[in-house]
């Protein structure tokens, strides 16, 4: 699969490395070039510098031919906007946006966006582990 990952933070890096290792064609976008160092020397994918809400940057990352787009920057609003551009402007088949804010996540889920709320997932897991 050709997969674009927006945001080279902890989640973005981990996701990019594991997908690359499994043989997927991965492109990572981040505003800050320094972040790409985290991907390590073994990373075989592509890196594009720029903001993920810019159509030209997304095109440079090959969004027109992408099978999946994942927005995992540390900004909920950036993720929501970038994912909507991927879904509605470029018609990418699989789009996922990570959000920290549960309320915003719920709203965008209702709007038809595939969303993951790491806050709720983490909290639910912790509840399960403490048996409460």
């Amino acid at each position: 699969m050709k997969i674009i990952i927006l945001g080279c933070g902890r989640v973005g890096t981990y996701l990019a490395q594991s997908l690359d290792k499994d043989g997927h064609h991965v492109t990572v976008i981040d505003r800050n070039t320094d972040q790409f160092a985290k991907l390590g020397a073994d990373f075989g994918g592509q890196m594009v510098v720029g903001t993920g809400i810019d159509e030209d940057v997304l095109k440079k990352a090959g969004i027109e031919k992408a099978d999946a787009f994942v927005a995992v920057t540390n900004g909920d609003n950036t993720n929501a906007m970038a994912a909507q551009i991927a879904q509605h402007v470029f018609k990418v088949p699989h789009v996922v946006a990570r959000m920290y804010d549960p309320v915003r996540e719920e709203t965008y889920h209702l709007l038809g966006l595939n969303t993951v709320c790491s806050t709720v997932m983490g909290a639910d897991k912790i509840r399960e582990m403490v048996g409460a």
């Binding site: 809400i53 909920d76 929501a80 509605h88």
Partner: protein, 224 residues
Amino acid sequence: MYIIIVGGGKVGYYLTKHLLSAGNEVVVIEKNPKKVDLIMNDLGGVAILGDGSDAGPMAEAGMNRADIVVAATGDDEDNLIVCQMAKKKFGVKRTIARINNPKNEHIFSVLGIDSTVSYVDALVAQIEREIPAHSLIHLLTLRDVGASFIEKQVPQDSPIIGISMNDLSLPEQFLIALVIREGQAIIPKGTTKLLGGDEVVAVTAVDQENVLDRLFRGELIRRR
């Protein structure tokens, strides 16, 4: 009217001031405490400290009874999310978004935010109007209905000079609405003839803006 403004920077501040003096009820949501203090000191208790794309401060501001929400921050992604949250979560009928990067106007439109204000576009239009070049000027675009008001000067060497309107073969969806000659507005009739240097204002379908160029090149003169 009850108007909520998200973003209390320079744009939000002066917008609030203006709307308050016009007798509206206004609340500003701003995340920088210094800016909130400034607004509270200068304009009264009309500011709420918080993230205006966050449901908490939105509810606190009474978003569900707002007539209009204006997203006026310097970040387009925040402005988009403010408008979408206001519409989808709080049922606000009218939202207006400030657009900082002109490229985003198209994206906002695709994503259902139809009412946008782009400073850069407004500035460019103003500059175009001030430059006495022969370029096409966009006076107004009615995107919802796909129409544009455009303006262009008739070149001094145009074959169209001296030809009357009756002798033109203009396409459907195109109208010469106004001719500006030496500072005077002329509503053209069938007998009106264009002269070099005339400013021609046309109403046209958005995809037919090149018709003025063809007209000035003499391609639309009716053959006899």
